[in-house]
Amino acid sequence: MPMLDDKVIAEVKKILANMRDPVTLRMYSQEFECGYCKETHNLLEELTSANKLLKLEVLSFEKHEEEAKQDQVDKIPAIAVIGAKDHGIRFFGVPAGYEFSSLLNSILMVSTGVVKLTSDTKAFLDYLKQPVHLQVFVTPTCPYCPGAVMLAHQLAFYSDSIRADMVEISEFPHLANKYSVQGVPRTVINEKWFLDGAAPEAQLVEKIKEAL
């Protein structure tokens, strides 16, 4: 049974018609001991068949250890959204529910180069040299989560110093423990700084400054 019904596919095609440059979705998967790898793989097959500019690459998490390490992929299912270069945009866990919007949004951003960030933020990012790792913890039913994910991914797209992960927390309960996530969205900055809720752009940038 297909993951996306005809109506959704039609809508996806319409949205992806706005693509300009090719985008590769590089997925890390394995056959066993991965709750949602199969679903994620099927979803991406259907998604990438919706537009010629969209390509799917599937790597085995076990066999392609080197690549996974280089792509900073440490859990699966994982998706790297890659354009002319890798901007550090990752999805861990199946991008279902509201997070499907986040995935489409990141594909379009990487493809068109269009970001929506204030000039203040851009000015800060232009001089940012220290590495920043953003992890946005979400659940697929959380309506406030895509805002936090899209913001983090935009920062990663704009700045080479920033990488940003969406992490679907119900698939990685040990991370919920590690980062004491009990509400979503929660954005973790460089392992130890937290921001709860769908915070406005300026607030996230302030928090990143604190974390540096």
Partner: protein, 318 residues
């Protein structure tokens, strides 16, 4: 079954003057957007979240909206309302409004990214969950304290959870949380509930839910390394006692989202005052839904507000 939701790509234009700008994309705003688009008004909606629907998106089930004899998911209803409005040409832009200039012929609505212009403005900014304002609440918000059951309910499988409040939201969301948690305590400061009797009955029949009435929460103590607990106080005898819980959900009413309009429009208890035609104190500015004083604050009334206001705005612009 996995569900998929689609984002939105907008072709809105900040250089032109729109007929109408709607601020807020809950049921009131979306209905006004649907009607205004069908009136062929050039309409732009500004919604701070990337997902429209307002408080509907954080409601699990809606069962008092006519036409749905089976309870409908709040998130589905929101998505369908948005799809319907967009079908007729409503433009939605996901930007938070930071400043408004409502006087004069052309109103200006400023966001972090653009200054949008229109001849008429409809305010549908709704309301946000009210905070209790007790020690520990802000500190543990997002880490054991929550205002959204659909977001955070799944974090409590087989856990013990307290829900604070006695209205429809508190009781309905308790029923949802009880699907995950093994024990839900509803803590309410009175001995009777403001919720619809049908919901009260259902809550009373749910074995996992226990009602603690005539009681308030004094503080939330969720410090790391210690057993998580809240401190309760009896309203009649003032006696304090501890209740060990893993999380607290708070549904104690709303506060209107009207900070932008303070000093610019006539407010009453924070809500925007309107006349029978949903006009505010400023010409060319309307208000609908939960943000409006004297609103019943239901999906059904928000929808009615939105439809009627679009009609009056259409007449005004003609």
């Amino acid at each position: 079954m996995l569900d998929f939701d689609l984002g939105f790509i907008s072709s809105a234009n900040a250089d032109k003057v729109y007929d109408l700008i709607i601020i807020g994309g809950g049921p009131a705003g979306l209905t006004a957007g649907l009607y205004a688009s069908r009136y062929k008004l050039d309409t732009l909606m500004l919604e701070r979240a990337p997902i429209s629907g307002g408080q509907l998106t954080s409601t699990q089930w809606v069962e008092n909206y006519p036409g749905f004899p089976e309870p409908v998911l709040g998130q589905k209803l929101a998505r369908d309302m948005e799809a319907q409005a967009k079908l007729f040409g409503l433009q939605i832009v996901s930007e938070a409004v930071t400043e408004v200039r409502l006087e004069g012929q052309v109103k200006e609505i400023q966001t972090d990214y653009n200054t949008w212009k229109a001849r008429a403005v409809l305010i549908a900014t709704g309301a946000s969950p009210r905070r209790l304002g007790i020690p520990g609440e802000a500190e543990f918000s997002g880490n054991g304290v929550s205002y959204c059951a659909t977001c955070d309910g799944p974090f409590y499988p087989d856990k013990v959870v307290a829900v604070v409040g006695g209205g429809n939201s508190a009781l309905e969301e308790s029923l949802f949380i009880a699907k995950y948690a093994r024990q839900v305590y509803i803590i309410h400061r009175r001995d009777s509930f403001n919720a619809d009797p049908i919901i009260v009955e259902r809550v009373k029949a749910e074995p996992r839910i226990e009602l603690i009435t005539n009681t308030v929460v004094d503080r939330i103590e969720f410090s790391e390394g210690l057993e998580r607990r809240i401190v309760l106080r009896g309203v009649t005898d003032n006696a304090q006692r501890d209740l060990p819980v893993d999380g607290v959900f708070i549904f104690v009413g709303q506060i209107p989202n009207t900070k932008l309009f303070e000093g610019k429009l006539t407010l009453e208890g924070g809500y925007i005052v309107t006349d029978h035609a949903y006009r505010t104190s400023s010409e060319g500015v309307w208000a609908v839904g939960d943000v409006r004083a004297a609103s019943l604050r239901q999906v059904a009334t928000a929808v009615g507000d939105g439809a009627a206001a679009a009609h009056y705005i259409h007449k005004y612009l003609m």
